[in-house]
């Protein structure tokens, strides 16, 4: 069976064939700015003692005065997450954005350190060598 054989022994030609076949679907997925990008809404619903609860959350984040375009979501247990750093979860959106700045050094060029304290970090990349120190204006 040809189908099975292709799966068994890929070649550059078979790979290009399947990429072509899947390209339009792949393009559509890659373009998706995570359900609306910045300002995407997370809707959490539950019932409690016969009452139905709906919690809608959106994050609007500016970095250096420019809107951050990634879609930040929040889980049922209240942890904040972002697809750009898919292996982590955060107790605070501030921690998440600090990590984004660390992980994407090409997008956030090094600035002079504010030398402030970075209290309240529960997670993430504090003290990563060669990465910028954050100006730490602490609000949670």
């Amino acid at each position: 069976m040809k189908h099975k054989k292709d799966l068994e022994r890929p070649t550059p030609e078979s790979i290009a064939h399947y990429v072509q076949r899947n390209a339009s679907k792949a393009r559509a997925c890659l373009k998706m700015k995570m359900r609306g990008g910045a300002g995407a809404e997370t809707v959490r619903e539950t019932d409690y003692k016969g009452h139905s609860i709906v919690v809608r959350t959106t994050y609007r984040v500016d970095i250096d005065g420019r809107p951050f375009m990634g879609a930040i979501g929040v889980s049922n247990s209240g942890e904040v997450h972002y697809h750009g750093v898919p292996n982590m979860k955060f107790s605070s959106a501030l921690d998440l954005i600090r990590t984004v700045i660390d992980v994407f050094p090409d997008d956030f060029k090094k600035k002079r350190s504010g030398g402030g304290k970075t209290s309240g970090r529960t997670n993430g990349m504090s003290g990563m060598p060669g990465m910028m120190k954050r100006r730490a204006k602490q609000t949670r």
Partner: protein, 317 residues
């Protein structure tokens, strides 16, 4: 006859062949182009290796279902171990072709063995030696995956994601920040907890689930554990959704696959959800197609028992 997947620290030949094979696939260009996949910039052919980077990103951006942005076609749901098993097997087959060695088995990194060392010794593990994966740094400066601008054959990152999670074309060295995002790797006590955690998966089939899959993936605790912790501990290019850019990605996932195999060996080759589960779980049920890009799709049911194709040198995790 089944091939055997070895521990990379115990097999010098596998070590050398893996690095050689990765560099061969990095320089094997298909007729697929950046333009055909909608990656901005000039249209360039994409190498076989870099198509794995794109495939991972595509799977991660395929939300299952589209009404939420947590569970996707490869992560944060029941399909996590099965989809990565499919991906690993595709890489293994391509490495076998590139190396002209049909008996080549993908090596694994037994990270829990390193995790039982002190934090400073973890960073000095032999896996980060010049004859294995190379060192930490931004970019790395030792080992088989060092970028040399003057040598077009040298390893380089060609496709990564920007901070708003869009793919882009780059030409730079590989980055790692070992031990910066997490001070320790997972430990043997974590892997033995994993083997004892049953059932395979549970509602609501996401990052809040009990069961083995969510523990193995690493969402069961905060900060993250197991597979996720390894990504965070290595850092650099292991953090964005383009993490297959670091060849250590596949060594991590090969160990994840080995732990899954050990779990099935102990607890049975069971998988849930079954085909009659909600349509919201489409992509995660036993006979649903797994997200594919470079080959025909397969299904979780088809990868549950691979023992006729490959086994591990040991299932002691």
């Amino acid at each position: 006859m089944a091939i055997i997947r070895p521990n990379i620290l115990k097999d010098a030949v596998a070590r050398q062949k893996y690095a050689q094979g990765v560099n061969l696939l990095k320089n094997e260009f298909t007729t697929s182009t950046t333009q055909s996949l909608g990656i901005p910039g000039p249209s360039n052919p994409i190498s076989t290796y870099d198509l794995f980077v794109v495939w991972h990103q595509v799977a991660m951006m395929t939300m299952t279902p589209t009404s939420q942005n947590e569970r996707n076609a490869a992560h944060s749901g029941p399909v996590f171990p099965a989809w990565h098993r499919f991906m690993l097997r595709q890489l293994e087959l391509n490495l076998q072709r590139a190396l002209q060695d049909p008996a080549f088995g993908l090596p694994y990194w037994d990270w829990a063995a390193d995790g039982d060392l002190t934090p400073s010794k973890q960073k000095k593990s032999k896996i980060w030696a010049a004859d294995c994966m190379g060192n930490t740094g931004s970019p790395i400066s030792k080992g088989p995956f060092v970028f040399k601008a003057s040598n077009p054959q040298s390893f380089r990152v060609r496709i990564d994601a920007d901070s708003s999670n869009q793919l882009r074309q780059v030409n730079r060295g590989l980055r790692r920040a070992i031990g910066a995002g997490a001070t320790t790797l997972p430990r043997r006590s974590d892997t033995s907890t994993a083997l004892k955690t049953t059932p395979y998966d549970l509602p609501p089939w996401d990052r809040s689930s009990g069961g083995f899959r969510n523990f193995l993936e690493g969402w069961a605790q905060n900060p993250v554990v197991m597979h996720n912790r390894v990504h965070v501990w290595v850092g650099g290019d292991m953090l964005p959704p383009t993490s297959p850019n670091d060849p250590v990605f596949f060594l991590n996932h090969c160990n994840v696959d080995r732990i899954w195999e050990a779990w099935m060996n102990k607890n049975g080759r069971t998988y849930v959800p079954l085909d009659n589960a909600s349509i919201d779980l489409k992509g995660h049920r036993l006979h649903d197609d797994l997200s594919s890009l470079i080959s025909p799709p397969t299904q979780p049911a088809a990868v549950l028992n691979m023992t006729a194709t490959y086994t591990y040198d040991t299932l002691l995790v």
